[in-house]
């Protein structure tokens, strides 16, 4: 790689990182506004016009609050927990193709940080690593409620990873590639994978809810039973990191779902648009389309959260092991039969 390429990659990384943080920040605002809308309230409206500065105020509050590390907590791991949570949340964005190659001046720039040929598995690995932040934090707090939350998080993640993996296998049988870049390119125009894998997508989105600990799967922080779950003992920015990691996870998993199943940056009639707008503006429209899809998914996450109540723990396990896994296996068999005999 020459120096120019490295600088461009670096700029891309910084931009994606900044975008993930801003999206996560304004997701908290969106969540409160949407919750307010669903509950016929107004929501935050004091800081700035329409309360738009609310996330900044929240951030400042988190930073300025007193930093507390409980006496009997294991101090290093207590800090490592939230740091790991936010680190693993940010890692996933590296392999997502944000758009087609874009021409800036005379240079063609790839809108993807790293095109590794096991991109799907990389995402999967990062997701499975996400649980460590919660587990370590929950255990290090030396609090029974936190420990219970951590243990719930572990068993929930492991259970739903299986059906998530199985639902991806059916998709890979059709596409024949593990590279997210190729996966996105294959869904050119309107050939989105969700049309060929509707059941697979349904399974994947349910598992994505479980992996990001969003309602109805937020049992690790179930406040009706566990006070605050794994982050009971946390305050100030360490708590902020946990909450922030959840929103970044939501953003990344929305991007993954959009890329795997909903065509990524592709949209019907994109060739016509590309010809008429040129190699700089054309791919940018694709990026905007991808972000529109991502925001729709984020809205869906919030919509579900404020509509469906939390599962009971045994229901959660039943759903994971007795419904989703058999369905995912059936999906694999069905996909194999159809792609061989039709």
């Amino acid at each position: 790689m020459e120096l120019g390429d490295i600088i461009i990659k670096f700029i891309l990384v910084v931009i994606i990182f900044a975008i993930s943080l801003v999206v996560a920040m304004y997701s908290t605002y969106a969540e409160r506004k949407i919750a307010a809308f669903f509950q016929d309230r107004i929501g935050p409206n004091r800081a700035g016009p329409w309360g738009l500065l609310q996330p900044l105020c929240d951030g400042a509050k988190m930073f300025l609050k007193e930093e507390i590390i409980p006496t009997n907590a294991s101090a290093f791991l207590f800090i490592a927990g939230p740091s790991l949570a936010i680190l693993t949340a940010c890692l996933g964005s590296a392999v997502i193709p944000w758009g087609q190659n874009i021409q800036i001046g005379s240079r063609v720039v790839e809108l993807q940080v790293a095109d590794i040929n096991v991109g799907v598995l990389y995402i999967f690995g990062v997701v499975s690593l996400g649980v460590y932040g919660v587990m370590i934090g929950g255990w290090a707090s030396n609090n029974k409620y936190s420990l219970l939350g951590a243990i719930r998080a572990a068993s929930q993640n492991i259970s739903y990873e299986i059906s998530m993996g199985l639902s991806i296998i059916a998709l890979l049988m059709l596409t024949g590639t593990l590279s997210l870049r190729e996966l996105a390119a294959q869904q050119h125009d309107w050939h989105w994978n969700v049309l060929r894998q509707p059941l697979g997508f349904l399974l994947f989105i349910v598992c994505a809810f479980a992996e990001t600990n969003r309602t109805p799967f937020d049992l690790p922080e179930c406040e009706t039973e566990l006070v605050g779950g794994y982050h009971t003992e946390y305050s100030s920015m360490k708590l902020g990191f946990y909450l922030f990691a959840e929103y970044i996870n939501m953003f990344i998993s929305s991007a993954v779902m959009a890329t795997l199943y909903w065509g990524g940056y592709n949209y019907p009639g994109m060739d016509w648009v590309l010809v008429h707008t040129g190699p700089t503006i054309g791919p940018l429209i694709g990026v905007i389309v991808l972000f529109a899809k991502i925001f729709l998914f984020i809205f869906f996450f919030m919509w579900v959260r404020w509509t469906i109540p939390r599962f009971r723990y045994d229901q959660l396990m039943d759903l994971g092991w007795k419904v989703l896994i058999p369905l995912a296996i059936a999906n694999i068999v069905l996909t194999g039969l159809i792609s061989n005999y039709l």
């Binding site: 095109d115 040929n117 999967f124 997701v127 243990i151 492991i158 990873e161």
Partner: protein
């Protein structure tokens, strides 16, 4: 990027990562707290993933990452957190046991040193096909040349799983959970 990029990384990276692997594995057995030692084990496995990447075995690297770090060690951690071992609850071992352990460990050390003395420093292995570890090639090898062993090992895993379920459900009439 891919192949050329990974092969050209010099030996220093390997030695650094190898040092980290050994360092963390020593910490695994010397850590007093079992949860800490599992966390060191996680780091050890992470260095293994880096080794695989250095060897250009990307698939193996990611699978090691997902299966060992993401699943098996999470279950280890899960179990240890539930048991919550600590210094107070650990039974004090008698001196006889300690002496026996030292003797056993020493014998193993002698055997290992004896074996390793025979091994000469090999020439650096040059892969005929540096892309061997990539998913596509690995899949072709597994499902052509090694199809039978591959399928049989899956049966082994299945039988182990059935056995584990059988052991876990001692109750002849399991209650509806």
């Amino acid at each position: 990027m891919g192949i050329r990029y990974f092969v050209n990384i010099n030996m220093n990276t390997f030695y650094f990562i190898a040092f980290l692997s050994i360092f963390f594995s020593i910490l695994v057995i010397t850590a007093k707290n079992p949860v800490h030692s599992i966390l060191y084990l996680v780091l050890t496995f992470f260095t293994f993933t880096v080794h695989y990447i250095l060897l250009n075995a990307q698939f193996l690297a990611v699978v090691n990452f997902i299966v060992y770090m993401g699943a098996i060690l999470v279950l280890f951690l899960y179990t240890l957190m539930l048991i919550n071992l600590n210094k107070d609850s650990e039974p004090v071992k008698s001196n006889m046991v300690k002496i026996a352990a030292v003797l056993g460990g020493g014998c193993l050390l002698v055997v290992l040193v004896g074996c390793l003395k025979q091994v000469g420093v090999a020439d650096p292995v040059l892969l005929k096909d540096p892309g061997l570890g990539l998913v596509q090639n690995l899949g072709k090898v597994l499902f052509n040349e090694f199809l039978l062993p591959f399928e049989i090992s899956s049966l082994l895993l299945l039988s182990a799983m059935v056995g584990a379920v059988l052991l876990a459900t001692k109750d002849p009439k399991p209650k509806s959970v």
